[in-house]
Each structure stands twice: as structure tokens, then as C-alpha cells.
């Protein structure tokens, strides 16, 4: 090795000598995600690691997203196997209080209606197929639709199974639109309701006993087992976390699950989802389509929830404020807070937060069930 050949070898291994346009663009995209995470606080817990993972995955030569690269290895271990999204679901279960939903269970149906966003978007993706140079098969359409579930782990779990090549744009769309819920939802909510409907006051929620909260995760898993076993990894992980939370005899596990366990998995999941932002995996016409469709998914879900809310309000004995239907898309607890805020505009004494938590958490279950149906029929 001479000095010249050494420098030549080195030059040929620099980023400058190996950059592709695609990588440059994706680095810019990743920086935008990081900017949104930090400056606009767009779901920073996820979008910061995803964005940084995107940066690392678009570095030429380094091969960090390759199967044997730093992040490729983590992806293979935790995302390709489905392990990380399920561990995160355990954590979310341990953080979720189903009290408001148990206190007024029929509001759970609003979380069912909001899943229409998933299937409407699925249809939309199929309608786009063959147009504008886009090509989506049924599995792709299902993975895109799940963005409307507004649940990150569910979206990552389903997409990693049905359409891993679209995982990057799906995860980015899901978390970005979740962050945009305060901007996307209010106009739709105001458009579909009258001022009088928005001012409806709901009955105070009843007390929920510890026992009811302990039985709840078990009966949910039971129904899931009988009806749609393909959803049991998601629902099972979710309900395990919730049982750990509510049972009262393993508080140290509950604390660790909600703390260091979910944090560590979030970091590893975020960074390794970022590998799907590598230029060759992300820069397709399909990505634009996915972003547009994801936006529609959130809008449709919101509308369906609000409309069912209006119908239920008409036929229910106790009044139901239709706004809380919008919380059925999940995006916990952001969507419920949006409901509270829009409700206060029409009636400054009307605190809908707790009432909106019912559809909000039932929407998480609804999306996991929808994912189970799609897995059962398409995989």
C-alpha cells in the first residue's frame, strides 16, 4: 500500500464519492422528521428515533441498514419477528386505564365505527392501483389502510407481515398524522355537527370497581380468542399489560413495563423502522400515494365516529355528545383532548375528556381486531 493508493482507497470509501441523489433526498426527509419531532413535537418519542434511523440508513458505504449492519440486525431481531410492536403493546396496556370505557361501555361502539377509515382507505388504495404509476396489491392496500387505525404498533405489526417494503412510509404516515390530529380533526368535527350537538352534556360516569378492571382484560382476550384468533398476539399483549397494571399484586413489574422496558424497545424499534427510510426502499411513487391515503384514512375514521355518535345520540336514553366519536380513531390521548377542546368552544362548562377516553381506548382494540381480520384473510 502506497500513500497514493491509500488515499485513493480512502477516497473511494468516502461518502462524497459514493452519494446517490436518492440518499441525499432521504437525508433531507429524515432531517425534516427530526425537525418536526423536536420543534413541532410531532410524536417525538417515535419520530426522533425513526428520523435518526433514516439518517443512518442513507449513509453510503456504511451499510447500517443491511442485514448485518447495526440497525439491520436490530430490525431482523425485533421488527421482522413482530417482537418489538408486541412488547410496546404490553407497555401501552400497562399505561391504559379502561375505567371510562367500562363505566359507559356503549361508547366503545364509536371506536368500532372509526375503523371505517381503515377499510375506506383500503378501497381507496385499490382504486388508485394502476393509476398514476402506482401499484398496490391487496396486502399493500390493507397495510396502507391500517394507517387509519392511528396506532403505531398495530400499523408496524401488520405492515411488517403483509408489506414490509412499505413499512417505512406507513410508519412515518401513521405517526405524522397522529401528531396532526389537532389540525386534521376539528374542521371535520365542526362540519358534521350542529352547535347544539357539540354542546350536549353527558351524564357523570359511574364508579368502576377494581374487580371489573381485572376481569376486563381477561374477557376481552376471551372474545378475541373465540372470534378472531389472528388478533390475539396484539390483543393478548395489550391485555397482558393491562392485567399487570390492574391486578395490584405485581406493581414492580407494572412500573418497569411502563418505564425502562417500553423506553428501551421504543428506541430500538424507532431506529430500526428508520432502516425502511433507505432511499431504495422509500423513494417510489407509492410513498406519495401512501401519504395522501393516510390523510384520508384519518379523515374518514373521524367522520365515521362522529356520524355514529350523532345516530347514537338520537336513539340513546342518556345523551351522547357526537364529538366523542372522533376520539374513536385512537391516537391516545391526543384525540380525546381534541374532543375536549372542541367541546369547550360550544359550551365552556362541558368537559368531555373522560367521556372521550371510552371511544379512544376502544379504538385501539378495534384497530387490533381489524388487523387480525386482515391477517386472517390475507396472509
Amino acid at each position: 500500500m502506497s500513500l497514493i493508493s491509500g488515499f485513493q482507497n480512502l477516497w473511494s470509501s468516502t461518502g462524497l464519492a459514493n452519494f446517490t441523489w436518492g440518499q441525499a433526498i432521504m437525508i433531507a426527509v429524515s432531517l425534516v422528521l427530526i425537525y418536526l419531532a423536536i420543534r413541532k413535537q410531532f410524536e417525538p418519542l417515535l419520530l426522533l428515533p425513526i428520523g435518526f434511523g433514516g439518517l443512518l440508513s442513507n449513509i453510503p458505504v456504511a451499510g447500517i441498514a443491511d442485514a448485518n449492519g447495526f440497525l439491520g440486525l436490530i430490525y431482523g431481531f425485533g421488527i421482522a419477528t413482530g417482537l418489538f410492536p408486541l412488547l410496546i403493546f404490553i407497555g401501552i396496556g400497562a399505561m391504559t386505564d379502561f375505567g371510562p370505557m367500562i363505566a359507559n361501555p356503549k361508547t366503545a361502539l364509536l371506536g368500532a365505527a372509526a375503523q371505517l377509515g381503515i377499510f375506506a382507505t383500503l378501497l381507496g388504495a385499490l382504486a388508485l392501483n394502476g393509476h398514476l404509476g402506482l401499484s398496490f396489491d391487496l396486502k399493500d392496500a390493507a397495510s396502507i389502510g391500517i394507517i387509519g387505525g392511528a396506532d403505531g404498533p398495530t400499523a408496524i405489526f401488520l405492515a411488517s407481515r403483509l408489506s414490509p417494503q412499505l413499512l417505512g412510509s406507513i410508519a412515518v404516515a401513521a405517526y405524522s398524522y397522529m401528531a396532526l390530529v389537532p389540525i386534521i380533526q376539528p374542521p371535520i368535527m365542526r362540519f358534521l355537527t350542529t352547535k347544539k350537538e357539540r354542546a350536549v352534556q353527558m351524564k357523570q360516569l359511574r364508579n368502576v370497581t377494581k374487580r371489573e378492571k381485572i376481569v376486563f382484560p381477561l374477557s376481552t382476550l376471551g372474545i378475541c380468542t373465540l372470534l378472531i384468533p389472528d388478533a390475539t398476539p396484539l390483543i393478548g399483549a395489550f391485555m397482558f399489560g393491562n392485567l399487570v397494571r390492574e391486578c395490584g399484586v405485581v406493581d414492580r413489574l407494572s412500573k418497569t413495563i411502563q418505564g425502562s422496558m417500553i423506553d428501551i424497545v421504543t428506541i430500538l424499534l424507532g431506529l430500526s423502522v428508520g432502516t425502511k427510510l433507505a432511499a431504495d426502499k422509500f423513494l417510489h411513487a407509492e410513498t406519495i400515494g401512501i401519504l395522501v391515503l393516510g390523510f384520508l384514512a384519518f379523515s374518514f375514521g373521524t367522520a365515521a365516529g362522529v356520524i355514529l355518535g350523532k345516530i347514537m345520540n338520537r336513539f340513546s336514553r342518556d345523551p351522547i355528545n357526537p364529538l366523542i366519536g372522533a376520539a374513536g380513531v385512537s391516537a391516545v390521548p391526543m384525540a380525546a383532548r381534541v374532543v375536549n377542546k372542541v367541546g369547550l368552544e360550544s359550551n365552556p362548562d362541558n368537559y368531555l375528556l373522560m367521556h372521550a377516553m371510552g371511544p379512544n381506548v376502544s379504538g385501539v382494540i378495534g384497530s387490533a381486531v381489524a388487523a387480525g381480520v386482515l391477517l386472517a384473510l390475507l396472509s
Binding site: 417515535l46 410496546i88 407497555g91 401501552i92 399505561m95 375505567g99 367500562i102 361501555p105 356503549k106 366503545a108 361502539l109 371506536g111 368500532a112 371505517l116 377499510f119 375506506a120 383500503l122 378501497l123 385499490l126 391487496l138 392496500a141 392511528a150 403505531g152 404498533p153 401513521a174 405517526y175 397522529m178 352534556q201 360516569l205 359511574r206 364508579n207 368502576v208 370497581t209 377494581k210 374487580r211 371489573e212 376481569v215 374477557s219 376471551g222 372474545i223 378475541c224 372470534l227 417500553i262 421504543t266 391516537a331 391516545v332 390521548p333 380525546a336 383532548r337 375536549n340 375528556l353 373522560m354 367521556h355 376502544s362 382494540i365 378495534g366 381486531v369 381480520v373 386482515l374 384473510l377
Partner: protein, 77 residues
């Protein structure tokens, strides 16, 4: 393929509604059974369900709840 998608929608929404409908029934049944069970009234602490009575609450209490929700940074669900 579009018709496949339509079927998926009908089937999927049906299952989601059946699932959550059954869950509503299960919750109602549970609360009824537990109320009739011995010891339900005495031994059972009304737990954090106590937190679920906001309708009559003042602005200050809500502010506290919302702040605590903000803390529960929920990682995208």
C-alpha cells in the same frame, strides 16, 4: 380486486362491530355478576374508577387530569 376490497370492508367492519358489541355485553354482564357476588360491596375498593366522574368537575381538576395525561406520553396509540 376492488370487489375483494369491498368484501374485506364488509367482513372487517362486521367483525369489529360484533367484537366490540360482545365486549359491551361482557362488561355489562361482569358488572352485574360482580355486584351480586358476596363481598362485592364491602371488600371492593372503588379504585381509580373514582377518577371517572368528571362531568361536574371544575376547571382546575380537569387541568390536573390533562396534565397527567400529557405525562403519560403514550407512544403512538
Amino acid at each position: 380486486m376492488l370487489s375483494d376490497g369491498l368484501w374485506l370492508m364488509v367482513i372487517g367492519m362486521s367483525v369489529v362491530f360484533i367484537f366490540l358489541g360482545l365486549l359491551v355485553k361482557a362488561i355489562d354482564a361482569t358488572s352485574m355478576i360482580l355486584r351480586k357476588l358476596p363481598g362485592a360491596g364491602s371488600g371492593d375498593v372503588p379504585s381509580s374508577g373514582g377518577k371517572t366522574r368528571p362531568a361536574a368537575r371544575g376547571k382546575e381538576e380537569i387541568a390536573v387530569i390533562m396534565a397527567s395525561l400529557a405525562d403519560r406520553s403514550r407512544k403512538g396509540s
